[in-house]
Subunit: 367 residues, 2 copies
């Protein structure tokens, strides 16, 4: 045990917990997880204390942990509030409360002057017609909570689809968003520690297929410094307003009128996985540093270009990846299943041409 | 489980096993260890199966493992031979047999035409006088086995010290080595897999204090390409002769007459720790790749200069390290004790001046 060593409890034991642990052990930290069981991606990387919905397991994690963090914005806010009376939980309940509900999230963007798509909260079918009248069509109806990887979304093109869209919400509160004609999706990750240090990774460009992130290019090509500054300003406002400690990710639409905030996640984020080999300090190490009260590390890229390619559904020709210069394989120890994130490949290159050539060789992993 | 996923059993659960695991999980590998107990540096990074001298624990590891490796050249050769009848053990018994005994090691160097210091094997006190008559003084008397970090060595300056030197061997077989006037100590790490791929890291420069490695500079400054080639040739001969699979480290003296082999280790090596962030593929990842039958990764440095500073005895101001650009902290979760390796700091720099400036800031960790 060293002076900086802490026991970190993680709610969840998936790939994010796994990569937090891999990056945290070199700092002398120890990890314990709540998850489904010994087959979880994090299970071999620390103590497993049982399931998050089992009271005795939660007690065991509380006894283990000096600080608690979580893998998902769908974590129960009440649980976090209760745990936080015993040990620090980072990010705190305020971050979780806003990030897990699209209505509250957009309300926060509004209050902080962060531009986002026009939206209306829709709690019942009757309210949907009025929202459409105000925002026009096409528009996207999204569940207020629990959406991820494009799930819980319905693109409404004409009024005849409104019943089907509402039915897809399955009775859950929803948010109607005006359709945004965006050039591309960007995202940014910021980190803040309790000593109020702030660091920001460069904006990255994300490419999706069927609602699932497939490729991230880091940094995003052709981003003016003023745009990076603007995004950092939004992040600073969010971090400070929520007294956020740890990583915070924000997805943004790049439009003709500038950046529009889409949604945020109070955690390490798939669009930051490039940083493991791509940045001086990875998002995972910086999250661990932030929640254990350590100084934050540099976020600058180690090479001019990096890309991250998700391995989705099937493992694919990963042995080939090991033969590719500048490529780094990250598997999560998960069984194959359609649409499931099984791992990712990080690619590093000194020129855009070399990056594109490597991405071409990774085509078997792309849709 | 993916097609490349293997269960790796490790004899030992110290910092080398810890760093093997941290680098192996991203490849989808799983780890199990034999060690002293839950306080071991590797204990939280995989299954712990009990002690290496406990038959039931060894059986448990055998049931777990698809392949077995080890942390120390002092591992029992008979145990390795026995295990290898059930699952592959890499590096194999031949590597271990030669590396753990200075007499056999130097005999191998001789057979392969690898220059080393003049030596005589000394099995009893009477043989020591004859050896001194042949090699002259000063000379170094070393135990044939189990020496590490400068232990088991006695520098003999004059004949009156011979009794004390022999007494220090405590009855063990010894080797007398002629004194070598060397400019500096270099080392090289090579990796070979069962498909007979070979890769070599650049020669590095090692600085010791009280027999313990304190600093490695990678690559070693002012090494001619022909010298690197010569060292790689020695390694190729050793790898092939021993049918070695995994990392092999060789310490060398740089003298006016060229390189002299000192000793080898059939494992990842402290002088290769710089490669974690410093090389495209770390020695740990390449060892895991080699023993699990995967293609080997690039060994090229990611930046022009790297250094590794060991944290010895006391943890020291590690929080300061986290504030230093280009520095990466690696702690082993070990209690402080004089002379004990508790961790290391990797430093990366684009110029020699920047490297030296960073090393100056790390002075609190140096003797």
């Amino acid at each position: 045990m060293t002076p900086i060593s802490r026991h970190i409890g993680v709610l969840g034991a998936g790939q994010l917990g796994r990569m937090l642990a891999i990056s945290g052990y070199p700092l002398g930290q120890k990890f314990g997880f709540l998850g489904a069981g010994p087959g979880d991606p994090s299970a071999l990387l620390g103590h497993m204390h049982g399931a998050v919905d089992d009271a005795r397991s939660v007690e065991a994690l509380l006894r283990f942990a000096d600080v608690i963090t979580y893998e998902s914005e769908n974590t129960d806010v009440e649980l976090v509030r209760r745990l936080a009376r015993e040990v620090p939980v980072y990010p705190g309940a305020a971050s979780l409360y806003h990030a897990q509900h699209r209505g509250r999230e957009k309300g926060l963007f509004d209050r902080l002057g962060i531009p986002c798509a026009p939206y209306r909260r829709v709690a019942e079918r009757a309210a949907l017609d009025g929202a459409v009248a105000e925002l026009g069509l096409p528009a996207v109806l999204k569940t207020a909570t629990e959406g991820y990887d494009g799930k819980g979304q319905y693109l409404v093109r004409e009024p005849g689809e409104l019943d089907a869209a509402w039915a897809a919400m399955a009775g859950r509160e929803a948010v109607l968003e005006g359709f945004v004609a965006f050039r591309r999706e960007l995202s940014i990750i910021a980190v803040r520690n309790a000593a109020d240090e702030h660091v920001y990774y460069p904006l990255v460009e994300n490419r999706h297929h069927d609602g699932i992130l497939r490729t991230t290019i880091a940094p995003a090509p052709a981003v003016e410094p003023a745009v990076q500054q603007k995004a950092e300003g939004y992040m600073r406002a969010l971090l400070d307003e929520m007294d956020h400690v740890g990583c915070l990710a924000l997805e943004l639409f790049e439009t003709e009128d500038g950046l529009l905030a889409n949604e945020m996640a109070p955690r390490v984020h798939n669009s930051g996985h490039w940083s493991i080999e791509g940045a001086q300090t990875s998002q995972f190490e910086n999250h661990v540093r932030a929640i254990t009260g350590l100084p934050l590390g540099e976020t600058t890229p180690r090479q001019p270009w990096a890309a991250m390619v998700n391995i989705i559904g099937e493992t694919g020709p990963v042995e080939e990846v090991l033969r590719m210069p500048g490529c780094h394989l990250h598997l999560y120890d998960k069984a194959e299943r359609p649409g499931r994130k099984l791992g990712h490949v990080n690619v590093l290159a000194d020129t855009r041409e070399a990056l594109d050539a490597a991405l071409a060789r990774l085509a078997p992993f792309l849709p």
